[in-house]
Symmetry: C2
Subunit: 123 residues, 2 copies
């Protein structure tokens, strides 16, 4: 991305996403990426050792499963998974999320999975 940043209409960007668990970057904030992702089903259990990760539900409902509790989130709910916390996002039906974390975050915290998206793609 070069040049002046432009406003991002989240609903327009979401229309461009057809697959699940494949985050697209829509903005950069210092060393962080703002990403949009559609999810359905269960992701993979993983941990980001040294970085927090923020989820904001834009459409639908998800559950952030953690070892000691589950957190249910509906549209307009925001939650930060603390660094070092093993977690597994789950969505019974398709949901759309804004995810914010460090630009160098590994999606699965290094865990091998067929759900893991390779590379970093702007949308």
């Amino acid at each position: 991305m070069t040049g002046d940043p432009v406003p991002v209409t989240l609903s327009d960007k979401l229309k461009l996403i057809a697959d699940h668990w494949h985050p697209r970057i829509v903005a950069r904030l210092d060393d962080y990426h703002v990403k949009l992702v559609k999810v359905k089903g269960e992701f993979v259990w993983h941990t980001h050792a040294d970085q927090d990760e923020m989820f904001l539900v834009l459409e639908g409902e998800i559950v952030i499963r953690m070892q000691d509790r589950d957190v249910g989130l509906s549209r307009g709910d925001l939650f930060v998974v603390p660094k070092g916390t093993e977690h597994c996002p789950f969505a019974k039906e398709e949901a759309s999320l804004l995810v914010l974390g460090r630009a160098d975050t590994d999606q699965t915290g290094g865990v091998a999975s067929e759900l893991r998206a390779e590379g970093q793609e702007w949308i």
Copy 2:
């Protein structure tokens, strides 16, 4: 804030805010704060020299005035004001925003203003 982070329902938190230009912290992400703020009218021109600032419109419409252009944002629009960019948020009618920036961000970039909120308040 101590203990496990809890989910934040943004619409519930917004109901607790009655004043303008007084951001409240709802979550922490690494060294960043996620804040909610209601705005109306014109803020003060200011610059954050070394940090970006993200705005997401939750209700209403705002304009981010910059020296070389204005960016209009409606509900569901997101924009990052780049570090070092003088800007002045403006809202003709009341609007509600999610703002994300470094926890040590000075709201007015050091500019004196009666609109400047002192301290950092969680909600």
